[in-house]
């Protein structure tokens, strides 16, 4: 028999969610609002944060070429990481989905388990691998290639970010692949389609939502990464997150830091909303609600 309508009060769901709602209002909504206000306040190098309204911080963020350069660098690094994750993560997810029972779970775990290890540990591990005396350079040496400087260059940052972000790409693509009916692929093959055509015209269109979803997460997380650029990028390779860190904890120019942080948040949200609009529009109509 189907579920009965609840006879409990209208207020029950609100009462149930009240603790969580209260906490989040206090610890998420309020601080974000305060930060927005902060970004409009004045900063004096000697006296600290002053009351009063000013757009100076935003003017600096949006006008100064120094900040342009940083946003641009963050953007292309995040985009590159996303691209590599798509090119590596999607095929890997596909290969995993084709594996037999014990291996599939094992390797899925190998890919996903690093998510449970702190990013500090992972960044440190890469610094050991990519340093001038690191394992990778030893391997290069064995092949006759000289020492390649990777640490404290964008290369190290990109490699470590790909390592951290790959699971976030594999998960949505894997989920999309799980929903595929394997019989559909067999049907296409029985109609004389080549393996490549099946991939291109049957599999790819159905996993595209997963790719987009994963790409979004990867881009957003890469653009706001702090620890990896901090440990592997060195003092000169500034990204948005490390600049915010500097402003808040070293320069103590909190309004400026707040302005940059909010700019980052807004960019994240805009990209996310655009994605939702695209998804709602294109794919939902063609494939039915997923």
């Amino acid at each position: 028999m189907s579920a009965a309508t609840n006879t409990s009060s209208r207020w029950t769901p609100y009462a149930l969610s009240l603790p969580a709602l209260a906490l989040f209002a206090l610890m998420v909504l309020l601080p974000l609002a305060l930060t927005a206000l902060l970004s409009f306040q004045q900063y004096d190098a000697e006296k600290g944060v002053q009351p009063g309204f000013t757009l100076a911080s935003y003017a600096l963020v949006l006008g100064d070429s120094y900040y342009y350069e940083i946003f641009f660098r963050t953007g292309w690094i995040a985009a590159l990481v996303t691209l590599i994750c798509v090119l590596v993560g999607a095929p890997e997810a596909y290969i995993l989905s084709r594996m037999g029972k014990p291996w599939r779970s094992i390797f899925l775990l190998v890919i996903l388990a690093p998510l449970l290890v702190s990013v500090v540990v992972r960044a440190f591990g890469w610094s050991l691998l990519l340093g001038p005396n690191g394992v990778v350079n030893h391997v290069f040496g064995a092949f006759g290639i000289g020492v390649v400087k990777m640490l404290y260059t964008p290369t190290a940052v990109v490699v470590a970010l790909v390592h951290v972000m790959l699971p976030f790409m594999v998960i949505p693509v894997w989920t999309s692949l799980q929903k595929l009916d394997p019989m559909v692929e067999s049907a296409a093959l029985s109609l004389n389609a080549s393996q490549w055509t099946v991939m291109r015209r049957i599999v790819l269109p159905q996993i595209t939502p997963g790719l987009l979803s994963g790409g979004l997460i990867v881009f957003g997380l890469s653009a706001s990464a702090l620890v990896i650029p901090g440990l592997l990028g060195g003092r000169r390779l500034k990204m948005v997150a490390t600049v915010i860190y500097d402003e808040y904890l070293q320069e103590l120019n909190w309004p400026l830091g707040a302005a940059i942080a909010l700019a980052l948040l807004v960019i994240n949200l805009v990209v996310m909303l655009t994605y939702n609009a695209v998804l709602e529009g294109g794919y939902a109509k063609r494939m039915g609600r997923s």
């Binding site: 029950t12 969610s17 974000l32 775990l109 388990a113 799980q178 653009a223 996310m272």
Partner: protein, 264 residues
């Protein structure tokens, strides 16, 4: 299952090596007897692990992390269960918004949350307080707890609850004796996932910890930016070990792939 071609296998092997390499190297270097970062060939030593246990700052931050993570996981599950029931079982205005708000720490960069809370802490004088730090962690890990709780509820056979009601149970009794026990794997899985994520969290914590409340990952970050010696590797190896243990428990309880991939 179709046999995978050799190119695909080679590719897959590379990806596997890539994913495991940093963790393996860290565990190896942790056992080096040398004074500098090096891979132990043949001789192994536990000296750096001893150094970890003798390093009072590191140990202090370890206990901080443990305490904060336990409190954060417990509080977040305590809030996620009722909120999850509201979201999974009731239709009410604001349901989507509530769900979005409670999952927002997955979308809002931890960096932004960190500086935002820093501002709040500064205004209310919360900087040295472990309580406020724990509350911040609760917010960060609630999405993980909530998702597992909602998934557990969605997978429940509602007719079992109706059967209990038809046998004379009150709504509270039916919840206590039927719904809750059947949700337990999801709740426990949620707790563990929340614990691990809190223990690992660094980006937000960098901004809101004070010298007394520094957590282990933050301490490690501070050490790593200054001097690097094998002690860092030893701490890292210990963290990997703790994570591996937690993963085994999660897998027994719930199925690790289900937890990480989520029920879609």
């Amino acid at each position: 299952m179709r046999r995978t071609g050799p190119i695909a296998m080679a590719f897959h092997a590379c990806v596997t090596v890539f994913m495991l390499a940093p963790l393996v190297i860290v565990c190896l270097v942790a056992f080096t007897p040398e004074n500098t970062l090096s891979i132990p060939w043949g001789t192994y030593s536990l000296r750096w692990f001893r150094a970890v246990f003798e390093h009072s700052d590191l140990m202090h931050s370890f206990w901080n992390s443990l305490g904060v993570a336990t409190v954060a996981a417990t509080l977040s599950v305590a809030m996620a269960v009722p909120a999850g029931i509201a979201i999974a079982r009731y239709e009410f205005p604001g349901r989507q918004a509530l769900n979005g708000l409670l999952l927002s720490p997955l979308i809002v960069p931890h960096l932004v949350l960190g500086v935002a809370m820093l501002r709040l802490f500064a205004l209310v004088g919360a900087r040295g307080s472990t309580t406020w730090l724990a509350l911040a962690h609760v917010v960060i890990v609630t999405p993980y707890a909530l998702r597992l709780v909602v998934a557990a509820l969605a997978g429940l056979d509602r007719s079992a609850e109706q059967a209990a009601l038809s046998l004379g149970a009150s709504h509270l009794t039916a919840f206590r004796r039927i719904t809750l026990p059947l949700m337990l794997p999801g709740i426990t899985g949620g707790w563990m996932l929340a614990f691990i994520n809190s223990f690992d969290e660094v980006t937000m914590s960098i901004f809101i910890t004070s010298p007394q409340t520094v957590t282990l990952p933050v301490r490690m970050y501070m050490i790593a930016t200054e001097s690097i010696d094998p002690m860092m590797a030893a701490v890292s190896a210990l963290m990997v070990a703790v994570t591996a243990a937690a993963m085994i428990v999660l897998d027994r309880l719930y199925g690790l792939d289900k937890v990480l991939v989520g029920q879609h």
